[in-house]
């Protein structure tokens, strides 16, 4: 296990002229966990990451990695591995050369570049110019770049964009293994569903403001519940729902009851002597929560 630095963002604010892109943002990212940095497109995620990485100067506030700003780190490329966008390549340079260009400053030998290309599955394409790479290949190359220095802090901006489902599953495992090794992992996404099986913690922002930060489990608790119920007498089940003033829908596999625990539905049905063949807590659709949490902030400022 490595002791990885914690990321601490404190009262971070960024103005672009009259527009406040990031507004008094405060959150921490703990080592040994994967933190999802979530928000709709244009909500200030990339701006925040660029401030964290020393590319943008904050209007006020701080973004520190292990107590230091990015530019104060001795060898930032060896401590922090970051992939910001899939378009930061010279199209005329080969994938291998893209990594070789940055290897000296990160402080790793060229053999590390070969290793990583193997690791991300680009060995066969390493001598081809990046201009001919697909979006998914570029994402893999960006990831290889981020991992060059075997960093203990990993920051990825929308890493699932352009990856095929296989690639997404591979990425998910990879991020989980980084967290298991004790690394600090921050992953941004505008689609909660993309990361909901990967992250431990979530920070949700909208219009540059933090609107939610918790563990994924706590966020899930905010989700609307769906209980799927079925039995030989569907009419009685729907009667039960009406009597208890539950919200319900009829579906072809039975009745769906909203915002009630399955245990309560079961108890009430038992008390009413209704025979049930199925009583299932359906997986919460977190995308819906995300929308709901995000739209709370939609009121004009």
């Amino acid at each position: 296990m490595v002791t990885s630095p914690t990321i601490e963002v404190t009262s971070l604010t960024k103005d672009f002229g009259p527009v406040r892109a990031v507004d008094d943002l405060t959150f921490t990212v703990q080592p040994g966990r994967v933190t999802g940095f979530l928000g709709p497109n244009g909500s200030g995620k990339t701006t925040t990451l660029r401030m964290l990485l020393g590319l943008f100067r904050p209007t006020s506030g701080t973004a520190l990695i292990g107590g230091k700003s990015y530019v104060e780190l001795d060898r930032p490329g060896a401590v922090v591995g970051a992939a910001l966008e899939a378009s930061s390549f010279h199209p005329g340079r080969s994938g291998l050369d893209h990594l070789r260009v940055y290897a000296p400053q990160i402080g790793v030998p060229d053999s590390r570049a070969h290793e990583l290309l193997e690791f991300v599955g680009l060995s066969d394409a390493k001598d081809r110019r990046v201009g001919g790479y697909s979006m998914g290949m570029r994402q893999r190359l960006a990831l290889a770049y981020a991992l060059l220095g075997d960093p203990s802090v990993i920051i990825l901006d929308e890493p699932a964009n352009g990856l095929d489902p296989q690639g997404i599953a591979w990425l998910r495992q990879l991020l989980r293994s980084f967290a298991a090794q004790g690394k600090t992992v921050l992953v941004s996404s505008h689609v909660l569903g993309e990361v909901q099986h990967t992250v431990d913690d979530v920070v949700v922002i909208a219009r540059g403001k933090k609107i939610h930060a918790s563990t994924l489990a706590e966020l899930s608790a905010l989700a609307s519940k769906r209980v799927s119920v079925d039995g030989p007498d569907r009419a009685r089940i729907s009667r039960l729902a009406i009597d208890n003033q539950w919200q319900w829908d009829s579906e072809n596999r039975g009745i769906v009851v909203h915002d009630v625990d399955a245990s309560i539905v079961g108890a009430k049905a038992f008390a009413a002597g209704i025979e049930l063949h199925r009583l299932v807590d359906e997986e919460v659709a977190l995308g819906g929560v995300f929308f709901r949490v995000a739209s709370q902030n939609e009121a004009p400022r």
């Binding site: 990339t46 590319l55 930032p76 390549f89 005329g92 290897a103 000296p104």
Partner: protein
């Protein structure tokens, strides 16, 4: 800093632009060298009344290396910066090495080396194309002459300076298309015309010699454009180099405190 320089070398030599530009430069200089050496050895006496011949002719023709060739080191130098912004590789560049002053300095160091390489190539192209004709059709190639060797040394130095100039200029005008247009316009139209216009009246003649191209000619030690007319004062080699250095320092400082202070992304 050593690592940053190594990265910069790899950036330049891992794409094709450096040798494509070098080939175009060889072609252009060789074309001018052949054309000029044939023209002047066959028709020179009629054109200049016998004023330009022998060693003067050799030095004059070899001296075309600066006014004809300097666009190439400027371009390759400017690309060191503009391609980073064009392809947004400036982001991984500043992530792997966050010190922005080191970025600028390592580009200047690399450009000096590349400038020397371009200088060697340019000298070979210029002299290689013209010396045989001077020898066969004219009074000789004068390659053993110390004045020619000073011209060669001056050519190498001026190519180093032009490439550094290109880096500093590219760091200020980071839009690649804009930088190329500015360099082509300056080298092909504005400076030659400005040099002529300013060079004729007594009052502005002093100013004309401080234009970059004129300072470059001074470093080489051959004012080809003013050849045979007696017009246009020229700085000494050292003064010319100092003037170009001053341009480089000013543009580099502007690059550091304007371009590299900005948000990147």
């Amino acid at each position: 800093m050593i690592a940053a320089i190594k990265s910069e070398f790899r950036k330049l030599f891992s794409t094709r632009m450096w040798w494509i530009l070098a080939i175009v430069m060889i072609g252009y200089l060789a074309f001018v060298g052949i054309l000029m050496s044939i023209m002047f050895t066959l028709l020179g006496d009629e054109m200049t009344g016998g004023a330009v011949q022998g060693k003067t002719l050799a030095v004059t023709i070899y001296g075309f290396i600066n006014p004809i060739g300097y666009v190439f080191p400027l371009l390759i130098g400017s690309l060191l910066f503009t391609s980073e912004f064009r392809h947004q590789t400036i982001t991984p560049s500043l992530l792997s090495g966050a010190n922005r002053t080191h970025l600028l300095l390592s580009k200047l160091v690399v450009s000096a080396v590349v400038g020397l390489l371009y200088g060697v190539i340019a000298v070979l192209a210029m002299i290689g194309s013209s010396a045989p004709f001077l020898q066969i059709l004219g009074d000789g190639h004068y390659l053993g002459d110390s004045e020619v060797w000073k011209l060669i040394a001056g050519s190498l130095l001026v190519f180093v300076l032009w490439t550094m100039f290109g880096v500093a200029l590219g760091g200020l005008i980071v839009n690649q298309v804009a930088a190329i247009v500015v360099i082509l316009a300056m080298t092909q139209f504005v400076e030659p015309i400005l040099g002529l216009v300013l060079g004729i009246p007594e009052a502005t003649r002093g100013v004309a010699q401080f234009l970059p191209a004129a300072a470059g000619n001074a470093v080489v030690g051959s004012n080809s454009l003013a050849m045979g007319t007696g017009m246009g004062d020229m700085l000494t080699r050292t003064e010319g180099a100092a003037v170009l250095m001053a341009y480089i320092v000013i543009f580099a400082l502007l690059c550091r405190f304007i371009t590299l202070r900005r948000d990147i992304g």
